[in-house]
Amino acid sequence: MAIYSLKETKLPPQSQTKAILWLKDNLFSSVSNVALTFIALYLIYLLLPPILNWTIFNANFDLTADNQSCGREGACWAFIGSNLKMFIYGFYPQEELWRVNTMFGIIVALMVFGSLIKKSQYWARYIIGSFLIYPIVAFILLHGGLGLEVVETDKWGGLTLTVVVAAVGIVASFPLGILFALGRQSKMRIVKFISVVYIEFVRGVPLITILFMASVVLPLFFSAGMDFDKLLRALIGITLFQTAYIAEVIRGGLQAIPKGQYEAADAVGLNFIQKTVLVILPQALKISIPNIVGSFIALFKDTTLVLIIGLFDMLAIVGAATSNSAWLGRTTEGYVFVAMVIWVILYSMSRYSKRLEVRFSTEHK
C-alpha cells in the first residue's frame, strides 16, 4: 500500500512569450501552414498598398472639389460628401428631414434606455411595449398625418428606405415565424399542413420572384382604381418571404428542446399555451439567436432587391448618383461607401447577437 501526499498547484511553464507561442500554433504549425502563411502574406503585399493608396494616400478629401478638380489617381470623396443627403434620405423633402432624424433618434434613445434597465423586472414589458408602439410613431413621422404633411412613399429612399424595409421585415416576420414554426410542429393536421405548404412554397421561390409577384401580380386582384402602395407591396412580399425562413430557424430551436421539458411542463399542470410561452419558446429562441440574427443579416442584404420594382434603396440611389453627368466615373467611390455603411450595420447586428447570447446564458460560469 502506498499513500501519496497532495501535490501543490503550479502555474504552467512559460518558456516563450505568448506572441511567439501564438505564431507557432496558428501560423507555423505545419509545413502546409507555413506555405499558406507565406501565400497570404504575399497576397496582402500585392493588394493592400493599392487599396490604401486609392482610398487614403492618393485620395482627395476636399469635400468642396468637383469631378474635374478631384483628380483620377485616387478616390474622390467629395462625391460622397456632396451626395450624402440623398444617400441617406433619398428624395425626402428637405424641410421635412427632421422627421427622419427624429425617427432614428427615438430608436437610438429606446435602445440606450433599454440597455440601462435590462436588469429591471420591467425590461420585458419595456421591450414588448416598444415593439408595439414604436412602429406606429415611426410610421406617422415618416409618412405624415396628425398634422404632419404627408410624404408619399415614392419619395422615400436611400439608407432610410433600406432601414425601413429591413426593420419592418424583421419585426413582422419574427412573430409570424414563431407561429408557423409552432404550426409545423402542431398535432393538428390542418394547421401542420398549412404551415408546411406555406414554408416549403415560399422557400422554394427566390425573393426576386416574390417581389415581382407582389408588384405585378398582386394589383391584378384589385380593381383598377385602387392604388396599392408600391412600398407596402414590397414590405408584404419581404415579410412573407422572411417568415418562412425564420419559421425554419425557430423550428430548429424547438427540435433541440429535450422531450423532458415538455413532460415536466405537462406534469406540473401547465396548459398548452403556458407550456409553449413559459417553458419551450424561451429556450428554443435562445438556442436560435445566432441563426435568427444570421437570417436577419441575410434579409438586410436582400433588401437591395427592391430596386427591381422601382424603389430606391441606398444601393439604387448611389447607382443613380454615379450616372449623374456631374459625377461620371465615380462608381467605385459610391459602391465602396455603400459597402462600408452596410458592413458597419451588419457587423453591429452580429456583435449584438453575441451580446444577447451571453446575456441569456444560464450555463455554469
Partner: protein, 258 residues
Amino acid sequence: MSELINKDIGEKDCCDIIEINSLNKWYGDFHALKDIDLKVKEGEIIVVCGPSGSGKSTLIRCVNFLEKFQEGQIIVDGVELSDDVKKIRQVRSEVSMVFQHFNLFPHLNIVDNLSLAPIWVHNETKQEARAKALKLLDRVGIKDQAEKYPNQLSGGQQQRVAIARALCTSPKIMLFDEPTSALDPEMISEVLDVMVELAKEGITMICVTHEMGFAKKVADRIIFMDEGQIVEENKPDPFFSNPESDRLKLFLDQILSQ
C-alpha cells in the same frame, strides 16, 4: 370517494387514492403493459422495481397521463383519466412527478422553477409562491442556491430542487421515476434522505427505483414487474427474505450481489 366511482367499480376499500384496473398499453405492436391491476391507499408508499424494459416507468407515467393507454381504467382521487383535458389537468394538479433526469427548466432560476406552476396553474400570487418556494428549498437543504440556475448546481442538488418543485403544488401523490439513476454515487444518499423524510410525512408515493435499501426502509409494499406485468407484490420483509417467483429470485440475486 364520489358516488360515481362506487357505481363504476362496485364495492371497494374506502381509501384507495389510485385505482388501476386491467390496464393495457401498447407502443405500436409492442405490448408494454399487460392487464395491470393496482390499488394504492392514501398515504401508502409503493416501490416498483424490475429489470429495465419491464414497464415500470410506463406504468407510473400513465398515472399522470404522460403516457396514453389503450385499454383499462385509472382513477386518481375520484377522477377517471381519459382524453378529457380538464380531467387530465385536474389529476396533474394533485399528482407531482420527479424525473430521472430532473427536467428542471434551465432558463429559469431555482425559485422561478418552483413558483412557475403555483403562479400559473394554482393562481397564487408571486409573493406567496416565492415564500413557499423558499420554505421548500430550505426543507431540501438548498435555500442558499435559490437565485442560481439549474445548470450551476450538482446533480444531487438539481434532483432535490426537482423534488421541491414537485412539492410546491401541495400534491396528494408523488411519483418518482428512477430519481437516483442519473446521479453520481456520492449524491444518491442526499436525495434518498429527502425522500425518506417525505415518506414519514404521510404523502402517497409511488417510486420506481433500484435502491433496495430505500425500499426496505420506507416501502409499505414492493411491486416487482417483468415484461409488462406485475409478477410479485409483497411487504418488504417477505419480499426480500422469501421471494416466490423465479424471476424475482434472479432479479434480487443480480441486484443485491453488487
